[in-house]
């Protein structure tokens, strides 16, 4: 739309004149309409739909509190720990800023996990939203990196040894591992050099990446429009006169007002933690991290922060014995795929891949495969849009198999998470191995069970609930 032809902002007065001046030079009103006042979202969003805007809100909290923490924090191994206590004790309101940042980190993961779970429930990753899902997964990876780098900064015992353990995982990679680990650390062990660069990643690099990805995520969302709890595409049924989706309502004012309420509820819960239980029983601020990092003294019990524990569990579950289970699994999966797929070339590829994996299972260390499985447990989410072959999107219309599968997955996730906080015992390892199996089977068997499940027909219009 050329500037000369642009509709002047309706109404008179200096404010509207200013808006018109801006609007002739910047797509202000256009953007407002396209993304807020005339962007139509389904009217049946439920509880699960709060967490996207809440995640954005927590991102804002983390950035603002992060900026103020950076004003006083010292990214130097000799000064880091004391500088955090300096912020807690001597900077006016420093304790509040610090607690908001530490609590915000955990709440970020709570919101993001619930946000992702919503997508799993309602099939929000299905076509045409695959790219939206991919951007989201990339955000999740950045978030994990951000949390990992950030956790080193207080330079406590957990900070130091957690970083040491995870960077050593890279060491386990065949051939290039040791050099790679040294390059990552900038030293032979986690040290001041590592702290300084992790600070740069945490404060500049990853936040920039996160912001870019969040913008891409929202742009991709607005391109295709939101999904909803019924899995119905609201764009399919439009008002003939206005062209607006019949089951849609403009985001502003309806969802701005609803998300505003959501933010206040969130702040109540958030504030209860920040002001009355910032350590959250040792889960948000770990007791051991109040001991300054000591490279010569390994704590008896190194555990990652709670939001990483499910994956950590999977890592530890991969023992020598478990390799047999994996081998059996690979053989069974290969068999299943070969039986389902008719293409000969594909069959040969699958067989070759399976053979290669089996060879690898028994030549490379179980430790290496533990790292692989841990990585796979996150990466596999990327493939969800293509694993789910159900004719319907939303769990409301799916059959008993899918419902059971999701329930089992959730239980496995929580069990793995809990086990990740505990010390290793034989019974716990067995439980973790079962949990790992359920976790992966949820994904690997999905192409089959999602297809065979008895679904109900998806409605054409959004339901009453």
């Amino acid at each position: 739309m050329a500037a000369a032809e642009k509709q002047a902002v309706t109404g008179a007065g200096p404010f509207n004149d200013l808006l018109t001046w801006i609007d002739q030079r910047f797509p202000l009103v256009e953007t407002w309409r396209a993304h807020l006042s005339e962007y139509y979202a389904p009217k049946n969003f439920n509880f699960w739909y709060y967490f996207g805007s809440l995640a954005l809100f927590v991102l804002a909290i983390q950035i603002v509190t992060g900026i103020f923490l950076t004003m006083n924090y010292k990214p130097d191994a000799a000064q880091a720990f004391a500088s955090v206590e300096y912020i807690m004790r001597e900077v006016p309101w420093g304790w509040w800023i610090r607690y908001m940042h530490s609590t915000g980190a955990s709440f970020f993961f709570i919101c993001v996990y619930l946000h992702m779970f919503r997508a799993m429930l309602y099939g929000s990753y299905r076509k045409p939203r695959e790219l939206l899902w991919i951007f989201g997964m990339l955000i999740f990876l950045c978030l994990m990196a951000e949390a990992f780098f950030g956790y080193l900064l207080p330079w406590g015992q957990m900070s130091y040894w957690g970083a040491q353990v995870i960077v050593n995982l890279f060491d386990a990679i065949p051939i290039i591992g040791p050099d790679l680990a040294i390059w990552i650390r900038g030293d032979y062990v986690v040290s001041d050099a590592t702290l300084n660069r992790f600070f740069a990643y945490h404060v500049v690099a990853v936040p920039l990446a996160l912001l870019a990805l969040v913008v891409a995520h929202i742009v991709a969302l607005h391109e295709v429009g939101s999904n909803n709890p019924d899995g119905v595409e609201i764009k399919k049924v439009k008002d003939p006169k206005t062209g607006r989706p019949l089951d849609g309502i403009p985001f502003h004012p309806y969802y701005t007002v609803k998300d505003g309420f959501g933010v206040v509820v969130f702040l109540v819960v958030f504030s209860i933690v920040v002001f009355f239980a910032p350590e959250a029983g040792g889960y948000f601020l770990e007791a051991n991290n109040f001991i300054p990092a000591d490279p010569l003294k390994t704590p008896p019990h190194i555990a990652p922060v709670w939001y990483f524990t499910p994956y950590y569990s999977i890592l530890r579950a991969t023992t020598e014995n478990f390799m047999w289970v994996l081998a059996a699994g690979v053989v069974a999966m290969a068999g299943l795929v070969i039986w389902s797929v008719k293409n000969t070339a594909a069959r040969i590829c699958v067989a070759a891949l399976a053979a290669g994996l089996l060879a690898g299972f028994f030549t490379l260390d179980a430790k290496v495969w533990g790292v692989v499985l841990m990585g796979l447990s996150v990466m596999i989410f990327f493939f969800l849009p293509w694993l789910d072959r159900s004719p319907v999107k939303s769990i409301r219309y799916k059959g008993p198999i899918t419902k059971t599968a999701i329930a089992l997955f959730v239980i496995a996730f929580f069990v793995l998470g809990y086990l990740g906080t505990q010390a290793v015992t034989e019974e716990r390892t067995l439980a973790a191995q079962i949990g790992t199996a359920v976790y992966f089977l949820f994904f690997f068997l999905m192409p089959w069970y999602s297809k065979m499940d008895k679904c109900r027909p998806e409605p054409a219009r959004v339901g009453s609930k």
Partner: protein, 200 residues
């Protein structure tokens, strides 16, 4: 039959009420963030008053004490030095320290010798031009910059001159007299710099 104007008015009131409450909450949230940028307890502790023991100071000797990161000079002036100050009255720009009184010269220093006791000069040793630390030229006698020098301080950066009461000479780059910090005597030989009797 619903009245179309009624819900709009109720809605508008609610919007205004929410906007006000939200705005107030936002300001309430912003204040601690801004406050966090004020000097911390460490800055306050480091900026705390400093005690100087002038007992060992001989007449004509000068000692330097650090306060708030600045050098504070304590000069024990001799009778000759005090007379030299009177002689410099005509050469200095602001002989009665009337310029920027509140900033540079506290009440108790608004006198002939710019100090509580004439014997001890207490000034911040930073040139009021661009912040260099002037050098001692305490002895009276001819100097390159002034043939009839009665004693004081010479700033090497741009040539500003100050007398033995810290008053700046006329026609020099520095505009003001040397600052007299808040200070008080804890005893005859102990000076507390950074705090005066009122406890400022």
């Amino acid at each position: 039959m619903s009245d179309p104007s009624k819900p709009n008015r109720a809605r508008r009131k609610l919007i205004i009420a929410s906007a006000c409450a939200g705005g107030a909450a936002a300001v309430g949230t912003a204040v601690p963030f801004a406050a966090s940028m004020l000097p911390s307890e460490r800055a306050e502790a480091l900026g705390a008053p400093v005690e100087a023991d002038v007992g060992p100071l001989a007449p004509g000797e000068k000692m330097t004490v650090e306060w708030r990161g600045q050098p504070v000079w304590i000069l024990r002036r001799t009778k000759e030095m005090l007379e030299g100050i009177k002689k410099a009255d005509g050469k200095v720009a602001d002989p009665r320290s009337e310029r920027k009184k509140g900033e540079l010269t506290p009440e108790y220093a608004r006198n002939e010798f710019r100090s509580i006791k004439p014997e001890y000069l207490v000034v911040v040793g930073i040139c009021t031009h661009l912040g260099c630390s002037p050098q001692d030229r305490l002895k009276a006698g001819p100097e390159a910059f002034e043939s009839d020098w009665t004693g004081g301080f010479y700033c090497p950066c741009h040539g500003s001159l100050f007398d033995l009461a810290g008053r700046v000479y006329r026609n020099k780059p520095a505009p003001d007299n040397l600052r007299v910090p808040p200070y008080t005597y804890l005893s005859d030989t102990r000076i507390l710099i950074g705090e005066d009797k009122k406890g400022a």
